[in-house]
Symmetry: C2
Subunit: 120 residues, 2 copies
Amino acid sequence: MIKFRNQEYACTTEITLGLISGKWKILILSYLSHKTCRFNELQKLMPETTQKMLTLQLRELEKDGLIIRKVYAVAPPKVEYMLSELGQRLIPLLTQLCKFGSDYVDSFPLDDSVPSDQHV
Amino acid sequence: MIKFRNQEYACTTEITLGLISGKWKILILSYLSHKTCRFNELQKLMPETTQKMLTLQLRELEKDGLIIRKVYAVAPPKVEYMLSELGQRLIPLLTQLCKFGSDYVDSFPLDDSVPSDQHV
DNA sequence: CGGAATCCAACACGATACTG
DNA sequence: CAGTATCGTGTTGGATTCCG
């Protein structure tokens, strides 16, 4: 049993999962792995997100040390987000998770939208 | 955008995360990676779990093809759980997630909520 | 032994409106 | 431009009880 930030974990795997388990975190990290982005830019890249959710996810990623928030003291406001060194180290792992998911989907080729015999 | 099982995903990473994002799934997979276990055994290994939750998580893992449920037609009932080939392929990934989490915890040694008497 | 069924609390997520 | 604030909802996890 591991204690971290007033939370208890049975395994540090759960800590890593906690870092990336948020509705938009994977996407954010993915986009930021390519380039630094402004808030507005991220919004355009993820049109499905609400401002509130995007802000929330960015704040959590920042608090967890995976991204860096850079505020420029100009008008109109300018804020840039980029991966931290920690965040960059996470990217290869995400790539592997992505690869597994992709293989996984391929291993269930007939499962897409065919509820033929769900009555098990 | 990927469609899979009537769900939409922005990235297959999210599919993999969905497979292992359940309160007890990591632990279950971890235990089953060492040996085949009966329901009762898993319960003893995870005393914090309720029967309902353990059953639910096992059912999901089975439905997702990560574990195999083997029912013996005997009295009293005997049910064994083991990793599928797909589940086995997931283990190295979990190990890496675990490693990252462990490194992550070490990189925040001054975190306010970590008790100082932790000599890890 | 290995469940299923029911009820309930917490929280993640979302829609919408407002702001320095 | 880059956010807050408020309110509402769906999903997840948990406690408890009953069953073949």
